[in-house]
Each structure stands twice: as structure tokens, then as C-alpha cells.
């Protein structure tokens, strides 16, 4: 038996299995990495994360039961799950509104960010004029701006879309602008020796160079977008998870509040995953060897 394991396929199999398990993950995260820089959050949930989350839930459940914490103060996870199940159709209905607002706002912000960042990349004057404004705009607290947007645009869907766009525009525009700036000047020069003009430089060097950075920004913006939509709803709406949150807290249905929070977290993660998926579709080619060779 021992000899059987040492020789041939038997001994190799664990390695092969381990390699097969590791390979897709590694390749996927490496591909997202902008060249020469260490990648940010990989967005992968490994079993360690699942274990720590499970431990947290068990501890929470145990503590609530052991110390007889009243449900209006802190509901046990099991109570939250029951509340979610009882409210599932209502919750999903509200979630649909929030998702629509977040997606529309994020899309609007992405379009604007591409337009503004690209204009800044092409024209130094535009950059000089807009970049400080961009940074200053980010220091305006969104919670103060949101009521204003509602005063201007009413209680419909549009003001929420605008709040989301306001929240997500900055990370998108800045990450894309930074991405353009990281483009290798030698690569741009090479394109000129091919007889290429500004459009060729943009299409074949600037844009592909900026994409990894842009997607890093998109992942941040995607998670912000759901929170932005909820804040917008919170200040005045007829539908959405923000509305549900207010109703739950006003009626002291704390387990429903927690269920809504769980849905918000879930929706945010879905947005994050969608951004990750788009990044993986767009960023082909994998990491460059440049960094390793220098």
C-alpha cells in the first residue's frame, strides 16, 4: 500500500487537485492587478472568511440566548432570518427599486466620468480647470446635498438616481483620470512613430492602460452606489430599502431592520461581483512581465 501511494498517479493526485483548485482563483486575481502594482481586494471569499462569519453568527446567537437580550434591543440571527422569510416578497419588491436606482445612477456616473476624465486627458486646460473642482465637490457631505436634490426634483426615482450618481462619480472619474496618467510615455511615443495621432494614442494605449485603474474605481463605486440609493430613499421616497428601513425602525421591528440591512449588504455584494465580472471580461492578457523583468 505505501509503495502504491508513492508511485505513479496516486502520489500526484493531491497535487493535481490542489493545483486545479488554486489555478482559476490565482489567474483571476492576477488578471485584475494593474501592472506593476499590487492588486487591491481580490473580491474572493475564501473558506476562512465563511468560517469567521459563521463563528460571529453563532457567537451572536449564543449571546442573545444566554443573556436573554430582548428582541427590540438586539434580535438573534435566527429571528432575523425568520423576519426575512416572512417579509421576503415585500423586501424584494423594495430591493428592486433600490437596485434600479443604484444601477441607473452608477451608469449615469460612469458615462459622465468617462466623458470628464477623457476630456481632462486630452486637454490640459480642462484638467487644470476641473480637477480641483472634482476634489472639492467630494468634500461636500452627500447627506447634506441629498435633501436639496429632493427639494429640486421631488420624491420620484430621479433624485435617488442623482444622489447615486453624485456619490459614485468621483471615484470613477478620479480612478480613470489616474489610469490615463499611468500610461507609459514610451508606449505613446511608439504609437507616434507608427504615424498615429491622438485618437490612435487614446484607443490603443491610453484607454487600455487606464482600464485596470478604472475598474478598481468601479468596484468601489459599485458598493457605494447601493448605500447612495438607500440614503436617497431614506430622505423621502415611497419605495426602496431605505423606506423599508425607516418603517421598520419606527415600528420597533428591529429584526426587520436587520433583515433589510442583510439585503442591502447582499445587493451591494452583487453589485461588487458584477463590477468584478465586467473587469474580468475587459481585462484580458493577464499581468505584464514588465514588473518582473525590471
Amino acid at each position: 500500500m505505501p509503495g502504491d501511494e508513492a508511485g505513479g498517479g496516486g502520489g500526484r493526485r493531491p497535487f493535481v487537485r490542489a493545483a486545479a483548485r488554486l489555478r482559476p482563483t490565482r489567474r483571476a486575481t492576477a488578471r485584475l492587478r494593474p501592472e506593476g502594482r499590487a492588486g487591491g481586494a481580490s473580491g474572493r471569499f475564501r473558506w476562512e472568511a465563511a468560517a469567521s462569519l459563521g463563528a460571529l453568527m453563532l457567537g451572536w446567537e449564543g449571546a442573545v440566548r444566554a443573556f436573554h437580550v430582548p428582541a427590540w434591543l438586539l434580535p438573534a440571527p435566527s429571528a432575523v432570518v425568520r423576519a426575512f422569510w416572512a417579509e421576503r416578497t415585500v423586501l424584494l419588491d423594495h430591493a428592486a427599486a433600490t437596485v434600479t436606482e443604484a444601477a441607473a445612477g452608477l451608469g449615469l456616473a460612469a458615462l459622465l466620468a468617462v466623458a470628464v476624465a477623457t476630456a481632462m486627458a486630452f486637454f490640459a486646460a480642462v484638467r487644470a480647470a476641473l480637477y480641483p473642482l472634482l476634489v472639492v465637490s467630494q468634500t461636500v457631505p452627500i447627506i447634506a446635498l441629498a435633501p436639496l436634490v429632493i427639494v429640486w426634483f421631488g420624491y420620484g426615482m430621479l433624485p435617488k438616481v442623482l444622489v447615486v450618481a453624485l456619490v459614485t462619480f468621483f471615484p470613477l472619474a478620479v480612478s480613470l483620470a489616474e489610469g490615463y496618467r499611468t500610461a507609459d510615455p514610451r508606449r505613446l511615443a511608439l504609437l507616434r512613430t507608427m504615424g498615429g495621432g491622438r485618437w490612435a494614442a487614446f484607443r490603443y494605449v491610453l484607454w487600455p492602460s487606464a482600464l485596470p485603474s478604472f475598474f478598481a474605481g468601479l468596484r468601489i463605486a459599485a458598493t457605494y452606489s447601493v448605500t447612495g440609493a438607500v440614503i436617497g430613499e431614506w430622505l423621502g421616497a415611497t419605495k426602496g430599502l431605505g423606506v423599508y428601513l425607516i418603517r421598520a425602525s419606527k415600528s420597533f421591528a428591529i429584526e426587520r431592520l436587520f433583515a433589510a440591512i442583510a439585503v442591502i449588504v447582499g445587493v451591494s455584494l452583487l453589485f461588487f461581483a458584477a463590477a468584478e465580472f465586467m473587469a474580468r471580461l475587459s481585462l484580458r492578457g493577464g499581468p505584464t512581465m514588465d514588473a518582473a523583468e525590471r
Binding site: 514610451r186 487600455p208 499581468p287 505584464t288
Partner: protein, 276 residues
């Protein structure tokens, strides 16, 4: 247009080219790089440019490529001025400069696409050239999945596909191991014999210059001047055994001697950063 006598097509003519870069660390605020370069490469000839590191060889190529404007002097090719006008010369810069987001086929198609060739046609031509270059099986690979030698060949294919009569190569095989470099030199010699374009190649490697070039131009340390133009007397095709040939070895030793004499003695060299 094709062939013709040497007198009719003028090749590359560099006259009195000077270049200084601003350098605030120097007393006069300027770093003199090129100090009046005169050089003529007849059409269809292969010239190598050797000299100490930092002597401005790459700057001269940048000027010929039209990327950098000289402070004084002119650059002509086939009688037309080309300084400050990129697009006349194909230029393979140092470090291969491949794009991690493109397949090898897309790399070679790129100069064609930039010039307005339709995408399908450009990709088809690129594949044909890559097959010639021995990379036919790797057209859909990304640079990260290629060896150093394959990357250099792909970068060279990208430069040559432009079809320009003038080709500039900046240490095309600089980062390769000796064996890969030798085999790529033989391959490039073959490409040159087939196409007979005008080539100006910067290299640090005296043997590479001798093996490939018709003439070797020697630069002085910065600010650079042409201190020597060495005629390479060997017939083409250059064979593998040429490297061990007595005349080749003697010429190589003489050239090395010439280059080393240009450098300050290690002992006499003034400390670049004096102690304080």
C-alpha cells in the same frame, strides 16, 4: 524606385545634430548629449552604433524617429527632412515595449490599423508575418505568456510590418541570454538580407555589431561625437563560424580596445558625488 544605384537614393543623412537637455543640477543648467553628429547611412545598409552608456545613442535614435527635436542640425531620409516628423522610420525601442493587453497578432496588426487598414485584413497580414518570424503557433498569446526571445521577435515584427525603408533598433536583443541572442542575431541577419532596408541599430555588444552591421559607428562619452566609423569587411550571408574567425576575433578585440580607451580609467574616475 526599387534597388537602383547607390548614388540615386541618398539613405539616411544626419548633419550637425546637437541636443542638450535641461538639467538643473548642472552649473549651466544644461546636459549636453549630442555635440554635432554627422552620419550618413547609404540606402539599404546596416549600421551599428556603439559607445559608452549614456552617450546619447538612444537620443539620436529618438531624433531620427522624429520623437525629439534636435537643437541644431538636420536629419534627411531619401532627400526629405524627417526630424520632428514621426512616421517615416520604424522604431523598435528598448525593452520590447509590448502591450500586456494585446495578443501578439494584435501587436503586429497595430501599425497597419493605425494607418487605416481594415481590421480583418490587418490581422490576416499580421498572422502571415508572424508565421514568417517563426511565431505562427503563438499568434493568440499575450506577451506575458511568451519567452524573452519570442517577445523580442514579436516587437521586431511589429516594427518591420510598417514597411518603412528606414528601421531603427535600440538594443533589440539587450535583455536576452547569450544563446538566445546569438540565434536571434542570425535570424535578423537573414531578415536583413531578404529585405535590404536601411537599418541603424544601437547596441552595447561589440560582437553583435560586428556580426550584423556593414559599418560600426563609435560614439565618444557624453557629449557624444562620432569618433570612428569602422568598416566591417565580412561577406553576407554571415555564417555561424564567422564568430570564431581570426579576422573577426581580432577586429572585435581592436574595437573593444577602442571603446575601453574612451572610458576614464576606473582609478582616475572622479567620484560622481564628492564627500561632504
Amino acid at each position: 524606385m526599387a534597388g537602383g544605384g547607390e548614388g540615386s537614393s541618398a539613405g539616411l543623412e544626419i548633419c550637425g545634430v546637437r541636443k542638450a537637455f535641461p538639467d538643473p543640477k548642472r552649473p549651466d543648467g544644461r546636459l549636453n548629449v549630442l555635440d554635432g553628429i554627422d552620419l550618413a547611412v547609404p540606402a539599404g545598409r546596416f549600421f551599428a552604433l556603439v559607445g559608452p552608456s549614456g552617450s546619447g545613442k538612444s537620443t539620436l535614435l529618438d531624433i531620427v524617429a522624429g520623437l525629439v527635436r534636435p537643437d541644431a542640425g538636420t536629419v534627411h531620409f531619401s532627400g526629405a527632412p524627417i526630424d520632428g516628423r514621426p512616421g517615416t522610420a520604424a522604431y523598435m525601442m528598448q525593452d520590447d515595449l509590448l502591450f500586456p493587453w494585446q495578443t501578439i497578432r494584435e501587436h503586429v496588426a497595430l501599425p497597419l490599423l493605425v494607418r487605416g487598414v481594415r481590421r480583418r485584413e490587418a490581422l490576416r497580414q499580421a498572422e502571415a508575418i508572424l508565421r514568417d518570424f517563426g511565431l505562427g503557433a503563438f499568434v493568440d498569446r499575450y506577451p506575458s505568456a511568451l519567452s524573452g526571445g519570442m517577445r523580442q521577435r514579436a516587437a521586431l515584427a511589429r516594427a518591420l510590418v510598417q514597411g518603412t525603408a528606414l528601421v531603427l533598433l535600440d538594443e533589440p536583443f539587450g535583455r536576452l541570454d547569450a544563446l538566445t541572442r546569438a540565434s536571434l542575431q542570425e535570424w535578423l541577419e537573414g531578415v536583413y538580407r531578404r529585405e535590404r532596408r536601411t537599418i541603424l541599430m544601437v547596441t552595447h555588444d561589440v560582437e553583435e555589431a560586428l556580426y550584423l552591421a556593414d559599418r560600426i559607428v563609435v560614439f565618444s562619452p557624453r557629449p557624444a561625437r562620432v569618433v570612428d566609423v569602422v568598416e566591417v569587411p565580412f561577406d553576407r550571408p554571415r555564417t555561424r563560424s564567422l564568430r570564431a574567425d581570426g579576422a573577426f576575433v581580432r577586429l572585435k578585440a581592436a574595437l573593444l580596445e577602442r571603446l575601453l580607451a574612451l572610458l576614464p580609467e576606473p582609478g582616475d574616475r572622479p567620484a560622481s558625488a564628492p564627500f561632504r
